[in-house]
């Protein structure tokens, strides 16, 4: 039988019925096997590919992290640049009498606000000098050492500045109220002061020049008793975010003279 079939296929010369039958029988089996195998191969390929995807994912996530960090650094650099540009403009406007200082420490107490700056007597800083920022008055030097000074902030309860309402030059005393900002005192009830008015230094007493921004009126109350208005003022300076300040050196000679004449007496 085998020999016959062999002879028939060798000598027959064509793809006979038997061949076709065989093919039809084996074909589906082959098809099933190859399909299963391709399924396994696909699963295997996909699984391996998943490893690669995971690797890719990790790599891309690391890249994203890196780029996000770079972006944050650049954003911070940009803001610093803008901040320094603003400080530089302010310094140029004010002339050469300003000394830049960095805030190195802050007071943790609830009611007495001070900061420490990294400039002291060796930089010609003396007690009584005014400390300013681009947004306005920050405070006054109260203690100095060779390299550091302590600044009493303008919003400290012991601070009192001669101030005026910018629009109509109505004068009063601006007192520090700690975290609540300032209170403008001794402004008569008939004075025209409304919320949003700008408060600036009055220049009386010779410590501060006139017209330096102090803040904006946040509320005005006319109490039944008394002659004066109750005016709360929001500081123009954010005392929580102080990083760099300027010490005004222009009055150095005058302050020293006052100090020495006081000591002589």
């Amino acid at each position: 039988m085998v020999g016959l079939l062999l002879l028939a296929s060798l000598l027959g010369g064509g793809f006979g019925a038997l061949h076709k039958l065989t093919l039809d029988l084996v074909g589906p089996l082959e098809s099933a096997v190859s399909r299963s195998l391709s399924g396994v191969i696909t699963v295997k390929d996909d699984y391996l590919a998943l490893f690669n995807v995971r690797e890719d994912n990790k790599r891309l996530a690391a890249l994203v992290d890196k780029y996000m960090q770079e972006l944050a650094e650049r954003r911070e650099s940009y803001h610093k640049f803008k901040h320094y540009e603003e400080l530089l403009d302010f310094k140029k406007q004010e002339g050469f009498g300003l000394l830049t200082a960095r805030v190195v420490g802050k007071d943790p107490a609830l009611w007495f606000q001070t900061i420490i700056i990294d400039r002291g007597a060796e930089d010609d800083v003396v007690e009584g000098m005014v400390v300013l920022g681009p947004s306005g008055v920050i405070g006054q030097i109260i203690h100095t050492s060779e390299s550091y000074s302590k600044v009493l902030l303008a919003n400290a309860p012991s601070s009192a500045i001669d101030a005026m309402v910018q629009k109509n030059r109505v004068r009063g005393i601006l007192k520090g109220a700690g975290a609540n900002g300032y209170v403008l005192e001794y402004v008569l009830k008939n004075a025209d002061v409304v919320e949003g008015d700008y408060i600036v230094t009055a220049g009386i007493g010779g410590i501060f020049q006139s017209g330096i921004p102090l803040g904006q009126v946040s509320s005005v109350r006319s109490l039944e008793r008394g002659m004066f208005l109750e005016i709360k003022v929001r500081p123009s300076v954010d005392f929580q975010k102080l990083e760099e300040v300027f010490v005004d050196l222009t009055d150095r000679k005058k302050i020293l003279n006052e100090m020495y004449s006081g000591a002589d007496r």
């Binding site: 190195v104 420490g105 802050k106 007071d107 943790p108 107490a109 609830l110 009611w111 007495f112 001070t114 420490i116 109260i142 302590k150 009493l152 400290a156 309860p157 012991s158 009192a160 007192k175 109220a177 700690g178 975290a179 609540n180 929580q240």
Partner: protein, 177 residues
């Protein structure tokens, strides 16, 4: 001596942290007074002389760093130390269960009395007393007191053990000699 020096150095470090790192916490959020916690701890754990030295030194450093009315901080911390020490001497308050609540109560009373005294003696008016702010500060201090006391206690016990060990070694060496 070593214990005193170590705690004084720790106090100085805490003063620096209090005026720099803790001030970076954003705006209206309260900051626990770690220096007060160290002084309270010294009242519970250290003898009189080292406690006084520590309270004075940290008060002095704070005075230098941030004080407006000089001498105020040393006085405040010495007062706290003496009061807590007197309270804990021969009384059940000395037990560790009372220590943390006592810190909260003493902090609250101290702030009240400082405010009262300041408003009576200073020429300028203080901002309004805030019950909410004060209670918030006190709660934060009590919460911070638990880990801080653990750390302080750890440092104290470690140093005390080392000192005791080195003393016993020295004694043995003397005996042999």
């Amino acid at each position: 001596m070593i214990l005193t020096v170590a705690f004084v150095l720790l106090g100085i470090l805490i003063c620096v942290l209090q005026t720099t790192v803790l001030q970076l916490i954003p705006g209206s959020f309260s900051r626990p007074d770690l220096v007060f916690l160290l002084v309270a701890f010294s009242a519970y754990k250290l003898p009189w002389i080292p406690g006084i030295l520590l309270a004075f030194t940290v008060g002095w450093v704070l005075d230098v760093l941030v004080g407006v009315n000089l001498g105020f901080y040393p006085l405040q911390f010495l007062f706290v130390l003496v009061c807590l020490k007197m309270l804990t001497l021969n009384s059940p308050v000395k037990e560790s269960a009372y220590q943390i609540p006592m810190v909260g109560v003493s902090y609250f009373l101290l702030q009240m009395s400082v405010y009262l005294l300041s408003s009576m003696t200073l020429q300028y008016g203080l901002p309004e007393w805030s019950w909410v702010g004060m209670i918030q500060e006190t709660i934060l201090l009590v919460l911070a007191a638990i880990p801080c006391f653990l750390v302080f206690n750890g440092i104290h016990d470690y140093l005390a053990n080392r000192i005791a060990r080195s003393r016993s070694v020295r004694r043995r060496v003397r005996k042999h000699l």
